[in-house]
């Protein structure tokens, strides 16, 4: 398929190629799968590294993701999501499964050390929020993110990029749990209606 002229973003051009690679992977084409890995693994590894903050663990998560992509490529629907979005969502969920499981273990094993933040978290909240705004390379997404209140944006950015849970966010931000939960809830509601109205999810 000829690429469209003009303002098409490179990620989109790559996206079309990735969608075809996922389609061929679904049919068991190993060389397509390897191409898919070469074209997307640096993005997924970056996501995992940022969330779990451990190179060996991030690598293991990336392996898990590609093994499950090989087995589940047929469930990818190009009309519903961009290939990299789909892959990144799988990766984030793997990371979150790991982080939440660890949180559960930490809590049940050492209930008294609740104050000890298990995540080595430098004060990089601005960085997370900046990343979120920078993510908005599509104007529609940028508009939606900028439409959030700054505390909503900060809480969502921390959760999104650092994988913090409600409890960890409350501790990190020094706010009551209920307050943080409500920032997140309202922020997500606003993001949803804005992103969906802009058709930005695809």
């Amino acid at each position: 398929m000829a690429s469209r002229p003009g303002r098409l973003r490179p990620t989109h051009e790559r996206g079309d190629g990735l969608a075809a690679l996922i389609g061929r992977t679904a049919l068991g084409d190993r060389s397509a799968f390897e191409h898919l890995y070469r074209a997307s693994s640096a993005r997924l590894y970056a996501v995992a590294l940022r969330m779990v903050k451990d190179a060996a663990l991030a690598e293991e998560i990336v392996q898990d993701v590609y093994v499950s992509v090989w087995n589940a490529a047929a469930s990818y629907d190009a009309a519903r999501s961009q290939p990299l979005t789909w892959l990144a969502a799988i990766t984030r969920n793997r990371c979150l499964d790991y982080l939440r499981r660890r949180e559960l273990d930490t809590v049940s094993l050492t209930p008294a050390t609740d104050d000890a933040d298990p995540i080595d978290l430098p004060v990089d909240a601005p960085t997370a929020a900046e990343l979120l705004i920078a993510a908005a390379d599509a104007r529609a997404v940028r508009g939606c993110i900028e439409g959030l209140e700054s505390r909503q944006r900060q809480a969502i950015a921390l959760a999104f990029f650092q994988g913090l849970s409600h409890g960890e966010l409350a501790r990190h931000l020094g706010q009551p749990l209920g307050t943080v939960k409500s920032w997140i809830r309202r922020g997500l509601e606003r993001l949803k209606s804005c992103l969906d109205a802009a058709g930005a999810t695809r």
């Binding site: 969608a19 075809a20 679904a26 397509a32 969920n93 499981r101």
Partner: protein, 235 residues
């Protein structure tokens, strides 16, 4: 927790949003994941939010994983570096060979193939396309002397609303080749512009994917592959 009850869509939406963002408490997360494995409404809600939020992460600078990562993935999938490059859809199809053979005999006995039989007493080709449950969904046939494929749907085999089924030939060791969008209807024809028997005989197997109207925009399957089947010579 019955999350898929339609009287509480707002609650499911909120839980799915927090699941996708990752802020759900560990127990809620685990429970939602467990429910999603058997409840498609909950699974769809989680998926929708995961896709929606993943858009936000596109600015993260890329980092190459260690070079060994690909080798480890290959090893976990049971491929060695020097393994036979035979594509694994062939392996997957092998699982269905027995079921297909049994069904083929039954289909002939039941007269499912009689329309082809009438037109084509000489050798033709039949492909029984089945989903992962091995339940036949479509039968594609080619008769000698014709430049058309006959596709018969078994039962109520319909694409999702607003989508179409597209038929693909799966050459050994090469990319799938589009054979055309399957028109709606229980018994339909797909023009092949060349001898249909020779065309089908050039593929070990066929597949059907779900595509946007008009067929795949990329020339390769883009939607889920829903049915596959081995190409069988009749008689």
């Amino acid at each position: 927790m019955n999350l898929s009850r339609p009287d509480r869509p707002d609650r499911l939406d909120r839980l799915a949003a927090e699941y996708a963002l990752g802020t759900s408490p560990p127990r809620v997360r685990r429970r939602l994941a467990a429910i999603a494995r058997r409840d498609t409404v909950v699974a769809a809600a989680l998926d929708e939010w995961s896709q929606r939020l993943a858009v936000l992460g596109t600015a993260l600078p890329e980092v190459d994983p260690p070079a060994r990562t690909w080798d480890r993935i290959s090893a976990r999938l049971g491929w060695s570096a020097t393994a036979d490059a035979r594509p694994s859809w062939w392996n997957r199809l092998a699982v269905w060979r027995a079921a297909t053979a049994v069904f083929l005999a039954a289909a002939v006995a039941l007269g499912v193939l009689q329309t082809v039989g009438k037109r084509a007493p000489a050798p033709g080709i039949v492909v029984i396309l089945a989903g992962s449950d091995a339940k036949p969904a479509m039968i594609a046939t080619a008769a000698p002397g014709e430049e058309v494929l006959h596709v018969k749907s078994i039962g109520a085999t319909l694409p999702p609303a607003g989508r179409v089924f597209e038929l693909w030939g799966l050459p050994k060791g090469a990319a799938p080749r589009a054979l055309g969008v399957i028109p709606a209807g229980a018994v339909v024809e797909l023009p092949t512009r060349s001898a249909a028997v020779a065309l089908l005989a050039s593929f070990p197997a066929l597949a059907v994917s779900v595509e946007p109207p008009g067929g795949s925009p990329t020339g390769a399957p883009t939607g889920p592959v829903v049915f596959t089947g081995q190409v069988e010579q009749m008689f």
